[in-house]
Amino acid sequence: MKSVEQKVLALNGDEAVAYAVKQCDVDVVAAYPITPQTIIVERFSEYVANGEVETAFVCTESEHSALTACLAASLTGARAFTASASAGLALMHEMLFVTSGCRAPVVMAIANRALSAPINIHGDQSDTMAQRDSGWIQIYAENAQEVYDSVIQAFRIAEHPEVLLPAMVCLDGFQLSHSVENVNVLPDDVVKKFVGVRQFPKVLTHEGKLAPLRLDPHNPMTLGPLAFPNYYFEFKRQQEEAMKKALEVIRQVHNEYAEISGRSYGDGLLDPYHLEDAEIATVCLGSTAGTVKAVVDELRSEGVKAGLLRIRAFRPLPVEGIRKALENVKAVAVMDRSMSFGGHGGAVFHEVRHALYDSDKRPFIVNYIYGLGGRDTSPMQIRAIYKDLQEIVQKGHVETPIKYVGLRE
């Protein structure tokens, strides 16, 4: 199928989110401003003020309330969206679990930012990494174009009746949130049709009826009440199953969108770059992949078999895909833009290493912590990582499993 004709707009990552949300027929946006996310809801509030959307815009007194309002709206069957970052996301922590436990498909954009203290408004992924066990789908975008595409896909994924989980679209603070790029946007009617209207699976209610899962006075139901030790566990197991289903749904929605837009990101879960015959490879999330790809191109032109695996879906984690993508590589460097204090490496390192444990080939694997608090990561530094990998392959052993990029020792 030929992709549809598209406009090119100059948008930063935040504006790309707002534009996508405008096209997704969202019923409720409840939000509280925080840098570097502010532009998202600022732009969206302009759409509301100009009458370009029919969305109910709720100004709340905190992020905790913003997500609570979105959860409540979502439970009535509305399509709800919010955005946050850093301390704002941390304040939502309690409600993140309530939202996923109530199976409310809220979509939230996160402009990734460091956490205090000390105060820092710049980009790193500590905020979303700290919420990786909250039951939310997490998709990390590489550029403003992918941000736009991912927000549209996120509604379809989250609202899929076999998934019904809230979803975060993560964009690196400032590198993506505030950098203007050319973004191809689909026509309004195409997006509206792609996203469609919310579908509701039927559930058995206390009246003994099978009713659509939403709060409706004609079909009263109680959601997320008290569950004792004899039932709580079963509900958590259901959420894990929904995550497993999400792996396939993310892929399907991505492929369907690719046909319409002409844009694809690997299989939607993992985006490999020159990995087929690679001997050494890095793994990263988000905007850093852009820099890494440029370095891979340089190395390839010099005859070095370098590759990259960008993880797009971190939750659910495509464990099998990661194993298959990396097991034939000789040495892997996993890049973490957050720390897991005392955890022997960052979260991405833990999980990629975990994915490779079941492989007979088990390549060497090392961790690079980088870019905390918005520190720039240069192509030179990425080259140095690949050089380290070459040395590891040459020597046949790892001397320093965890290193810090650009840190003054």
């Binding site: 109530c102 004792f228 079963e234 929904a242």
Partner: protein, 94 residues
């Protein structure tokens, strides 16, 4: 808290913890340690206990001109005994 059915697997229950049984099916009376016992001779049928019971577990039976404790839901809080103006209700260890 007793539910009069076999405990189900995660595949059989509604998602989002939607209740598939009305709350009256969950017998919360098994939480209690102390049980209210009334002396019918002292009781004046003033019905204050009926009003004060936070669980609605004391019923007025008009046909018998009497009250009745529903021990399936009485949690043994003792509010009735405390409020009874003629001290007709005693909390007894179960």
């Amino acid at each position: 808290m007793t539910l009069k059915e076999k405990e189900k697997s995660w595949k059989e229950i509604s998602i989002a913890a939607v209740c598939w049984k009305p709350s009256t099916e969950f017998l919360t009376g098994d939480w209690k340690t102390y049980k209210p016992v009334r002396d019918p001779a002292k009781c004046t049928r003033c019905l204050l206990c009926v009003i004060f019971c936070p669980d609605g577990a004391i019923h007025w039976k008009a046909d018998r001109n009497d009250i009745e404790f529903d021990y399936n839901y009485c949690k043994g809080c003792g509010v009735c005994a405390n409020e009874c103006p003629v001290k007709a209700i005693e909390m007894k260890l179960e």
